[in-house]
């Protein structure tokens, strides 16, 4: 019987170990997902940032970069691109800016999150300097121009001629993170 006991313990130990490993694997999927996004440009995540090595400018081709702005939830800032659309040669550094104004009566901090459509083009857009690299804080009524320096990699696939770079502005002013349940009516009861 002791021999059976040892066999049980061996099986249980292995299985408990593998379920703990799988729990860890569940969490490992998060960094794996980021690596996966880098390679495939999944979900329009712009991952190439920082100073770009000089690229040869491809004058024969112009790509139109469309800039759009979205305010998330009840973000009251005025937030829009200075130039809606720029035609630029791949390989040439582009420069533009976004305007942000805090019309409310108190200081607020915001975080801009970029996203590229078509997602396939995300891997070819390189942001040299962008206001989305760090949080932006504006006092009451303050307005600010936020620079954006970028370059489009010349070996962008030929069938892509228009890229949309969209920024979503999130309000991350630290305050009691009141959950949104107040929004759902409390009355879970039947209507009759």
């Amino acid at each position: 019987m002791a021999q059976l006991q040892r066999k049980h313990t061996k099986v249980v130990r292995n299985l408990l170990l593998s379920s703990v490993l799988m729990f860890g694997f569940g969490f490992a999927l998060v960094p794996l997902y980021d690596v996966f996004c880098d390679i495939t440009g999944l979900n329009g995540k712009v991952t190439r940032t920082g100073p770009a090595e000089p690229m040869l400018v491809d004058r024969s081709r112009t790509v139109s970069l469309q800039l759009t702005a979205v305010n998330n939830e009840a973000m009251p800032w005025l937030f829009e691109p200075m130039t809606a659309e720029m035609n630029i040669h791949p390989g040439m550094t582009g420069q533009t800016a976004f305007i942000a104004r805090n019309p409310t009566g108190k200081t607020m901090i915001a975080q801009a999150v970029p996203s590229v459509a078509p997602a396939e083009a995300a891997a070819y857009v390189q942001k040299i300097n962008c206001f989305c690299f760090e949080r932006q804080s504006l006092e009451a009524g303050q307005q600010q121009e936020m620079p954006l320096l970028f370059v489009i990699d010349p070996d962008l696939p030929d069938h892509i001629s228009k890229i949309t770079l969209s920024y979503t502005l999130f309000d991350i002013t630290p305050q009691l993170q009141a959950s949104h349940y107040a929004e759902q009516p409390q009355t879970g009861r039947f209507m009759l």
């Binding site: 759009t68 939830e73 809606a84 019309p103």
Partner: protein
């Protein structure tokens, strides 16, 4: 027990027959071919795989039916004892395999056509909000909200339901016929999904990210769709209406929209009397605010605050204006700054400060709102 033994195959046969392909509208049983080349291709794919399944099903259920009828103990059938024949198994695995590989070719072709990023004439940014859609025509400076226009009484069965019940909106998305329209989908709060069956376009709108979809609608017409991703309380009440017009009508519409926008801004400079603002304010209140604060201004205790007799209505107007313009984060109170024009905002705030017994006599002018809005 004989009759019951027979019942299964006979009944199932009958069920299989009531799957006719085209029936009267009320009893529509199948996907429509839609109006675009893509939706036509998707419809063909759908019918091909459907007929493949019916064929395989007919063979499998036929053999099964035959053996249920013939190989029964009550008919003296003796059980044979063959229980393995790898060759037969290989055949009935290879045949569906080949059929499926065959299916993969047109499916891939259609999918690649759907992912074509050729130049579009018109770009529209579609933003999903909790429980309405916002259309921004990039480069045209047109920006409006499109929410359900089915009256509340029809939903609560106090009135008979209209023809396009739950599929009608106040401002439809107008696009030119025959032109490629590129849609940039994103969301303001939770994940929504923009779906118009006739255009065979369905793409999720995810907050913080932008998704791309496109369509070319050759024929003018009205095409209706709905949100296709659970997004909260009124997920079933945020429809989509696409109004496809000929090119001239579309350009005409663009001009009208720009005029209306200009009119709205200079209306703001006109000085309004209290009575005029109150009348407009009541109309705007019932359209945009009554859903939560109720027409009588008493809100829903514990969910939405009452405005009648509330200190904010009678106190300093600046706080009141700030809440209406910028909303209150962490609550359901949205920022109405982009959803209503300066005149509408001034009117509704004036109405809220002078209705239901709040007699402050304050008049908030559109000009005052404009300084805060821009």
């Amino acid at each position: 027990m004989k009759i019951i033994g027979w019942g299964l195959p006979a009944l199932f046969g009958a069920l299989g027959l009531i799957f006719p392909l085209s029936a009267a509208a009320e009893w529509q049983v199948n996907l429509g071919p839609g109006v675009t080349e893509i939706s036509r291709a998707v419809y063909d794919l759908h019918m091909t795989i459907f007929w493949v399944c019916v064929a395989i099903g007919a063979v499998v259920f036929g053999v099964m039916l035959y053996s249920i009828v013939h190989h029964r103990k009550s008919r003296g059938a003796k059980a044979h004892n063959f229980h393995e024949n790898t060759l037969v198994e290989i055949i009935w695995t290879v045949v569906p395999f080949v059929i499926l590989v065959g299916m993969a070719v047109p499916a891939t072709a259609t999918l690649i056509k759907m992912y074509d990023q050729s130049e579009a004439e018109l770009d529209i940014q579609v933003t999903g909000y909790q429980w309405k859609w916002r259309y921004q025509y990039l480069g045209e400076d047109i920006d409006f909200f499109s929410s359900l226009s089915t009256p509340r009484e029809q939903i609560s069965n106090d009135e008979t339901k209209g023809e396009h019940y739950l599929l009608e909106v106040d401002n439809a998305m107008v696009i030119p016929a025959g032109k490629k329209v590129r849609l940039l989908l994103t969301a303001n709060d939770v994940i929504h999904s923009w779906w118009v069956p006739d255009l065979a376009v369905k793409k999720d709108a995810i907050p913080g990210f932008i998704n791309e979809a496109w369509t070319i609608a050759p024929e003018p017409g009205i095409y209706r769709g709905q949100c296709a991703e659970l997004c909260g309380k009124d997920h079933g009440f945020m429809p989509i209406v696409v109004d496809v017009r000929s090119e001239e009508d579309f350009n005409q519409w663009l001009v009208e929209m720009k005029q209306a926008k200009a009119q709205a801004s200079d209306a703001a400079t006109k000085n309004w009397t209290l009575a005029e603002l109150m009348a407009k304010g009541e109309e705007v209140y019932n359209r945009a605010c009554a859903a939560c604060h109720q027409p009588n201004g008493e809100g829903i205790p514990g969910a939405f605050p009452a405005l009648k007799g509330s200190p904010m209505m009678v106190g300093d107007p600046a706080a009141h204006i700030d809440v209406v313009l910028n909303g209150k984060s962490g609550t359901a109170m949205q920022a109405f700054r982009d959803q209503l024009s300066a005149v509408e905002l001034a009117a509704v705030i004036t109405y809220e400060r002078n209705a239901w017994g709040n007699t402050t006599g304050d008049l908030v002018s559109p000009a005052q709102i404009n300084t805060l809005k821009q």
